[in-house]
């Protein structure tokens, strides 16, 4: 029973972690709180639905196609909108992301309809794994395996490639990076594209639990945010741990309080962290300069 909860917590946490990585990548490189992230997730879910029903049902191919299309969408949105608003206009940038979210959600409603739809049965194929008394569904272990793979690939990309170095450098200090010959605007765009495609992928992972509908991104998006803040916004390894931790806290918290309030756990964690340790669990606190 306890182990079951741990598995569920890990699976939910893996999705939160991927979402949180997206937020942190965007925040680190663009200093932008991207409120449309949940809607990227929702679009990812719907695109996977369309691909499964019309192109292919091979999970890996579907994930690859979803990530590609979300990358394209992210590129377009960053190019057409976010790039054109100067960094110092905080309120304007936040509102732009909210506006983009509104456009995505309602466009999805028109294209795919308002009804709640499941991802086809047996999308994640495989035998049910029995570990002692523990039965692990295929969708659970596939989420964990693919999620872990994506995180490892991302870490390798950020730490071992030149482009990854450019992203990290311009996130650390865009001006100095530019002096060193890094095109930091390009680095930002690449970071945003990666974040968008990872988020789209989460739309597939959560589909067995939440189903696919236009509102699916609303509370998931905020939970990803909470996870990112928990690990320290802008801190990628922190986001991974924060996501898994939040998944655990939520799964175990739901056994204590009534399930209607389950969604508020993430917000309470968010508020507590922001109030007591805004730099996140693993961040170093910057002293107030007054």
């Amino acid at each position: 029973m306890l182990l079951d909860q741990v598995i569920v917590g890990l699976v939910v946490g893996a999705s939160y972690a991927l979402l949180a990585i997206g937020y942190s990548l965007i925040f680190a490189s663009m200093r932008l709180l991207h409120f449309a992230q949940g809607d990227f997730l929702m679009i990812g879910g719907f695109i996977s639905l369309s691909i499964v029903s019309s192109v292919t049902a091979n999970p890996f191919l579907v994930i690859f196609l979803v990530m590609t299309s979300l990358a394209l969408l992210g590129y377009l949105i960053e190019r057409l909108c976010y790039k054109r608003i100067p960094d110092h206009m905080h309120a304007a940038r936040i509102i732009a992301t909210l506006g983009v979210g509104m456009i995505l959600k309602n466009t999805a409603g028109i294209i795919w309809g308002a009804q709640i739809r499941p991802l086809s049965d047996g999308f994640f194929r495989g035998p049910v794994v029995n570990l002692g008394s523990l039965r692990i569904q295929p969708s659970y272990y596939w989420t964990l395996i693919i999620g872990a793979m994506l995180m490892i690939l991302l870490s390798l990309f950020l730490n071992r490639t030149k482009v990854g170095l450019a992203i990290r450098a311009s996130a650390y200090n865009a001006e100095v990076a530019e002096i060193m010959g890094i095109n930091s605007a390009k680095a930002r765009t690449i970071a945003f594209i990666i974040a968008a495609s990872l988020t789209g992928c989460v739309g597939i992972f959560v589909a067995p639990m939440t189903f696919i509908h236009t509102e699916m991104g609303v509370s998931l998006g905020m939970k990803g945010f909470s996870a990112a803040v928990l690990g320290g916004l802008g801190n990628i390894p922190g986001a991974m741990v924060g996501g898994l931790l939040l998944g655990m806290i939520e799964t175990f918290g739901a056994t204590v309080i009534s399930s209607g309030y389950k969604d508020s756990i993430a917000f309470i964690v968010l508020i507590l962290i922001l109030v007591f340790k805004p730099s996140g669990l693993f961040g170093t606190t910057e002293p107030e300069k007054i």
Binding site: H90, A92, I94, A96, M102, K105, I110, S258, L274
Partner: protein, 323 residues
């Protein structure tokens, strides 16, 4: 020029007072006008917080909901009168504002915005889940019509009450902004550290801004409750908070008339877009993005820029004539 300054306010108030007469008490026009005034109050409150004090909040719908539910519950469960409901609910709402202000006292910018989003969502979750008090998803029903004395207000009467309250809120806000408090808000928006070096108690003025904004939201919420007659948690969602923020930004944050202009434009804009049905929200979203991309200082900023351009042109003309 100076003697004529009073003429616009007088003309506008006359127009507002005569609106029911001009439109022959048209139900639809008055309905929209009441909604405009409720949102004006919300936007004026957020303008103090966001426009003057520089604290972005995307959770105003949370305060709006608290105000509406408390007024509604007082009227339904305890049978209290209209004015006393408004008073109690806005006082309670400002207490909640004080609480949120105290918890977020060290947060700025995006972090603060995040917490306010969380706050709005939690309020909504409570409204959905505390079923025996709020009625949950089925709504809080049967809020009686507003009464002044023993006289049940008609729609026209309610319209007058609303614009009267908007006028009070507007005048009070103008006085606050023109006082030491208002100057402290602007100082901490522009240069927080410099302001605190000058002896401005940042924490105190932040709390004042939060409390005033919450107080106004409480008033607006109670007005909405008595106007709508029933309350549903879905109404007080994130997009409602965004809408209030958009009103402030569109009108021009940190300006006197901006929030009212924004509230009127957005409310009427919604009505104009209604025939587009499912495309309504897409057009609204595109509108939002275009506004922040091309006129981030809002309509007031745009008008000021135009005025400057015209002035320069005129100057250029006189120079040309002199040559």
């Amino acid at each position: 020029m100076k003697e004529k300054k009073w003429i616009y306010p007088v003309l506008i108030s006359l127009l507002l007072l005569l609106l029911p007469l001009i439109t022959r008490q048209n139900y639809y026009v008055l309905h929209i006008a009441i909604i405009c005034s409720i949102f004006s109050i919300l936007a004026i409150g957020l303008n103090i917080l966001q426009g003057y004090a520089g604290l972005v909040s995307i959770g105003q719908a949370g305060f709006y909901a608290i105000g509406a539910y408390i007024a509604g519950l007082l009227a339904v469960k305890l049978g209290l009168g209209f004015w006393i409901c408004i008073l109690i609910s806005s006082l309670v709402t400002s207490l909640v504002g004080l609480g949120l202000g105290l918890t977020t006292v060290r947060l700025y910018g995006g972090y603060l915005a995040l917490v306010t989003v969380g706050f709005g969502r939690i309020v909504q979750l409570v409204a959905v889940n505390w079923t025996n008090l709020t009625g949950g998803g089925e709504g809080l029903l049967g809020i009686p019509s507003a009464k002044v004395g023993s006289h049940v207000l008609s729609q026209t009467g309610y319209y007058y009450v609303c614009i009267f309250i908007v006028a009070l809120v507007f005048l009070f806000t103008g006085n606050v902004i023109n006082s030491k408090t208002g100057r402290a808000f602007i100082a901490m928006r522009e240069q927080r550290i410099a302001a605190s070096m000058m002896g401005i108690d940042i924490a105190k003025y932040r709390l004042i801004a939060f409390v005033i904004a919450a107080f106004y939201s409480g008033i607006a919420g109670s007005l909405y409750g008595f106007f709508a007659g029933s309350l549903f948690p879905d109404y007080f969602n994130l997009s409602q908070s965004v809408t209030i923020l958009i009103m402030v930004v569109l009108g021009g944050s940190g300006t006197k008339y901006g929030p009212i202009i924004g509230a009127i434009l957005v409310t009427i804009g919604f009505e104009v877009l209604r025939p587009f049905q499912s495309y309504q929200m897409i057009i609204y979203g595109i509108g939002i993005v275009l506004v922040v991309m091309f006129m981030p200082s809002g309509l007031s900023g745009l008008i000021q820029r135009l005025a400057k351009v015209i002035k320069i042109r005129k100057k250029g003309d006189t120079h040309a004539a002199a040559d």
